[in-house]
Amino acid sequence: MSLIAATGISVRFGAEPVLTDVSLAIEAGEIVTILGPNGSGKSTLLRALLGILPLAAGTVMRAPGLRLGYVPQKLSIDRSMPMTVRRFLSLPVRVADADATAALARVGLPGVETRQMAGLSGGQFQRVLLARALLVRPQILILDEPTQGLDQPGEAGFYRLIDEVRRDTGAAVLMVSHDLHVVMAASDRVICLNGHICCQGSPVVVSNAPEYRALFGLGSQGALALYQHQHDHSHEPTGVDAYGRTPSDPHHGHNHA
């Protein structure tokens, strides 16, 4: 059974349709990235899956008792609220010191328990958010543009961390991004979104899809060339994904009006 499955969901803000007839399912242990330009409904899709937004149509099913770790897109802690890293990890569920220490070590930030959240750098802050999400021992991690505001090395480091976490814990990962290259290397499956699902499949399949190229305005020398150029050393060029599996969900073509 899928961890989370959406069937034909639509979301409207007022009369404005933001998502139309989106269906997707996340299976145990896979890394799925939702890719799309600004305003394509990426965050809306995540928030609909989390049950934050009401659905205009369709259903979202969760596996019974699903443990879910969430890293929101933007969490600004008001300066007026004092908050140590340790205290933050105990929200909303209090956790044991040993677990908090282990989670911080897991994300590469040992010993920051007594630091103020407001005093952390952007990269450290994102890692603490991830540590907090890991404390529920999630079966699925949902991350909304987790590397926003990080520089290139910080971004690459964060995706490496996500991959390690998936390997250690077996948690599935569903994340949103609008940066192409790093995501391409770090995902099993990419869903290309623009109000509806344009195309989906393994990174290589999607980056070859005309819908994807149209959406990101790429010519024949687009992201794929760049992607393969950068990653030839570690990837098969034949549609086998980064983890040696063949794509489970080949891209489906359809016309764009």
Binding site: L50, L75, M81, M83
Partner: protein, 263 residues
């Protein structure tokens, strides 16, 4: 012991501070200062209604404060521009309240009691109402503490953890209305919001966790009440302004002390 009006006044101040410390911290964290003002100013309208209908003052203020808090929450959820809405509602409520009170015979002279508080005139019944209200507020905040903090940090985060941010906001709204009803006798309608914000703002400089800030705020609030009470007794100054002045001096001292310690 309760027969001494000074003891009653001191206990009233400490009881109020117990509730305003933690609740005021949330008001500061969620930037609800103006919201507190609107609710407090509506209390004057509640006083007028209570006097006209021969109801206890506490009941009148509580009902109108709840209605105001509910109205503001509803408008906020519908996406009205918050500062304008609150500006309209807060001052209208105060103005209507003052006009309405002028129709109630024989109250004009007592008006300053409701605007500025009269801590020295706290009766045993008042004391019961104040402590009862304060304990209900503290108990609700303690009960919902983890959920309230999470929802204050980020509503999506709270949602994803299976909490309902709207419910947590409702808890704070109800607590605020109750504190307004409780505080009316002590600091008066005009300065209730100050009693929520100033001790919490002073506590911010010293605290490293939300819990510490709430406790420091309660302590500073209690201290401000006691100092203000002395001042009011000694110089025959109005109670509310005296207490808030004391709180402001505490805030300034903590700020200076904090600056010096940081070098």
């Amino acid at each position: 012991m309760l027969d001494d009006f000074l003891v009653r006044a001191a206990l009233a101040g400490v009881g109020l501070a117990l509730a305003t410390g933690p609740l005021g911290s949330f008001v500061v964290w969620r930037r609800m200062a103006y919201f507190g003002d609107a609710t407090a100013h509506a209390a004057i309208l509640g006083v007028a209604l209570a006097l006209a209908l021969h109801l206890p003052i506490g009941v009148g203020t509580l009902v109108v404060a709840l209605a105001m808090a509910g109205t503001v929450s509803t408008l906020a959820a519908r996406g009205w521009a918050m500062d304008t809405t609150l500006g309209v509602l807060a001052h209208s409520a105060l103005a209507f309240g003052l006009v309405a009170i002028s129709y109630v015979p024989g109250v004009r002279a007592d008006l300053s009691t409701y605007l500025f508080g009269d801590i020295l005139a706290v009766s045993k019944a008042d004391l019961g109402f104040i402590w009862g209200g304060a304990l209900v507020v503290v108990a609700s905040l303690v009960w919902r503490w983890q959920a309230l903090l999470t929802a204050t940090l980020n509503e999506d985060l709270a949602h994803a953890s299976g909490l309902n941010p709207d419910r947590e906001r409702l808890v704070l709204t109800l607590a605020l209305a109750l504190v307004v009803a409780v505080a009316l006798k002590i600091v008066g309608a005009l300065l209730i919001a100050a009693m929520l914000i100033i001790p919490a703002a002073a506590a911010r400089g010293l605290a490293r966790t939300p819990e510490a800030m709430a406790l420091y705020a309660a302590g500073f609030g209690a201290l401000a009440c006691l100092v203000g009470l002395r001042l009011s007794l000694w110089q025959d100054t109005p109670a509310g302004p005296s207490i808030v002045s004391a709180a402001a001096v505490i805030f300034a001292l903590v700020a200076v002390f904090g600056q010096m310690r940081r070098g």
